[in-house]
């Protein structure tokens, strides 16, 4: 292998970038109130005599990753990984601690928010951790352990109340009561849409498999729906639904109207159909015909073959389609806030229209976290399904 002799510059470049971002961009912002973007505070202004560790850690990280570039020793890689992993909760602690210091002697409405140096460095540290794990060829268990340790440290910091002086946490505290409901609403939209998508998409996918002609007619239609921008689809559903609710009062009383849950769930269902139908179709097509023929020869009925043979074998590909639908719904559900469906998007847009950065983040961060969780859930399900299809 000639390639392995070349030097891998990934970790060293990431570390240098992280240090540049940490020192070059504003680390915190101090504002007299929540609506002003405030004065930037850079990292150097935080470092005083007692905080020499702050200077040692970045230097050690760059040194270790540079050394590992020339001689990829396992110990150096693990040490770099440990520094980067510790740096993630470390940054949060530092920001929170500094926020409390900066707020002393300020009016109660003064705010300290984390600046771009915080987010960029945090992201780069995350990349360093994942790249180091890749270079170490860490197994799944080791990766999960590292991720859990970081998440628990960050979660512990947040739960301990040490971060309560950060503006983002203050915004959360302001709406902590309603927050669970907002998340529940977001999940409600997602689940309703997913159930509807599956209830319509699975039979359609099967029909497209059983009748090739139907499939050729169906997929272009679903493709066009996918093409229509989300906000336009909401808009196009609004008028007919409003008309429907007005002409059939029973539907209106049942909560169907031009705005709110109904158009949101219908639009998300329509968007989810293409990946689910395609996943079902391709999954069923991939089932080896020998297996279904054998099942038929054994005297299984068509329905039995579908349930006992075809669906389990199609499951991994089918789940891939459902995963695409589910993950994209998380983001699309955020846009439904514009048509009054609520959910995390309502926090996002509230912050956007009020020009309050931390409120935007309070909407965005849970959306991204939810997206990652849904994605991970389906990844695990797909692995389980794959294992049951190919147990050897």
């Amino acid at each position: 292998m000639t390639q392995d002799k070349r030097r891998n510059p990934v970790l060293a470049s990431l570390s240098v970038l992280a240090v540049l971002a940490l020192y070059g961009l504003p680390f915190l912002r101090l504002a007299p109130n929540r609506l002003v973007s405030g004065q930037p505070l850079d990292f150097f202004s935080i470092v005083d005599g007692s905080a020499w560790l702050l200077l040692v850690m970045p230097v050690a990280l760059v040194g270790l990753t540079a050394a590992a570039m020339f001689k990829p020793r396992v110990a150096w890689l693990w040490a770099a990984l440990a520094i980067a992993a510790a740096g993630m909760p470390g940054l949060l602690w530092l920001a929170a601690n500094q926020a409390s210091i900066q707020l002393q002697g300020q009016l109660p409405i003064a705010r300290v928010s984390v600046g771009s140096a915080f987010w960029v460095t945090l992201t780069l540290l995350g990349f360093i951790v994942s790249s180091a794990l890749q270079q170490l060829r860490a197994n799944a268990l080791q990766s999960i352990l590292v991720a859990t340790a970081i998440l628990m440290a960050v979660g512990g910091l947040l739960a301990s109340g040490a971060c309560s002086d950060l503006s983002l946490i203050k915004e959360y505290a302001n709406r902590a009561d309603g927050f669970v409901e907002v998340v529940a609403r977001h999940l409600q939209i997602l689940l309703l849409a997913l159930v509807c998508t599956l209830a319509i998409g699975l039979p359609l996918g099967w029909a497209a498999h059983a009748h090739a002609k139907a499939g050729r007619a169906l997929l272009p239609v679903l493709n066009i729906i996918q093409t229509i921008p989300s906000i336009a689809l909401f808009g196009l559903l609004m008028a007919p639904l409003a008309l429907l609710a007005a002409s059939v009062p029973a539907l209106g009383r049942a909560g169907i109207s031009g705005v709110g849950l109904a158009p949101a769930v219908i639009a998300l269902t329509l968007y989810g159909l293409l990946p689910v139908v395609r996943g079902t179709l391709v999954g069923l097509q991939n089932v080896p015909s020998g297996i279904t023929q054998a099942a038929r020869a054994l005297g299984l009925k068509r329905f039995q073959i579908l349930i006992a043979i075809e669906l389990p074998l199609a499951l991994p590909v089918l789940l891939g389609g459902v995963r695409t639908a589910a993950v994209s719904s998380v983001g699309l559900a955020a846009v439904t806030a514009l048509i009054g469906a609520g959910g995390l998007g309502s926090i996002l847009f509230e912050g956007l229209f009020a020009n309050a950065e931390d409120v935007v983040l309070l909407g965005v961060l849970p959306i991204v976290a939810l997206g990652v969780m849904v994605d991970t859930l389906f990844k695990v399900l797909m692995r389980l399904a794959n294992r049951s299809v190919h147990p050897w």
């Binding site: 390639q3 510059p9 093409t227 336009a232 609004m238 950065e357 965005v364």
Partner: protein, 239 residues
């Protein structure tokens, strides 16, 4: 130009011209509205702004995304491929609207955050498509080219890139279509696009505005998608 593309494009053009004169129709459907037709900006201008925003950001996405995709599949950049792949996988959980909202604190309101968010978000599918297109080139074909005496760059130019073109093109199509939709939402951050009638209509309970904007945005997306489809048919030489 396929039949369907021609007719949908003609419909879009006709609507852009005729909508400003459609007040009687909309006031018949929505009798309670005082102003049944969006007149704050001409629809032609909004369409032009929308296309300009998507065009400029997509140009950046395509150039930068293709460059990154080619780079990580070359020996000089192959160390960065796992990193790029994990960024791409992670970005699945990042919806366009989140990128848009996060661009505002960085560059303020207006066209700029929209341009930034669209360019960044459009990058991802292009990188993905370039990488998987280049990886899908059969190794035997590359070996044949190299054994004929082609240099690595000749191999890239005459073998890899043409063979990766269909996959690359479909990723560009995805990227542009996503950007058309995100540009519509970008009117929430102050950009003037075909999304403006929708957003203004939604906040002012004017369903007619919403409908006018929605129809135009949807048609624009369908026209562009059909144009890509007929382009894709022309480069589908693999089959």
């Amino acid at each position: 130009m396929s039949h369907r593309l021609f007719w949908v494009a003609a419909l879009l053009a006709a609507l852009v011209i005729l909508l400003p004169h459609s007040a009687p129709l909309f006031s018949y459907v929505f009798p309670q509205l005082e102003r049944p037709v969006y007149t704050q900006e001409p629809f032609v201008w909004l369409l032009w702004q929308h296309m300009l925003l998507v065009g400029a950001s997509s140009l950046f996405s395509v150039v930068a995304g293709s460059a990154i995709g080619v780079w990580v599949t070359r020996p000089s950049g192959h160390f960065f491929k796992p990193l790029v792949e994990s960024i791409l996988a992670m970005s699945q959980a990042f919806p366009p609207v989140a990128v848009l909202a996060l661009a505002v604190p960085v560059v303020g309101f207006g066209e700029l955050p929209a341009l930034l968010a669209l360019a960044l978000y459009g990058l991802l599918p292009v990188v993905q498509g370039t990488v998987s297109g280049l990886q899908g080139v059969p190794a035997t074909q590359r070996q044949a080219a190299l054994s004929l005496g082609m240099t690595a760059s000749q191999c890239l130019r005459y073998i890899d890139l043409p063979l990766a073109l269909p996959v690359w093109l479909s990723s560009v199509r995805t990227s542009v279509i996503i950007n058309i939709g995100t540009a519509a939402i970008a009117s929430t951050v102050g950009a003037k696009t075909l999304g403006s009638p929708i957003i203004i209509g939604l906040s002012g309970f004017n369903t007619a505005y919403v409908l006018q904007g929605a129809i135009l945005v949807a048609l624009l997306a369908v026209v562009v998608d059909l144009a890509f489809e007929s382009w894709a048919k022309r480069v589908a030489w693999q089959h």
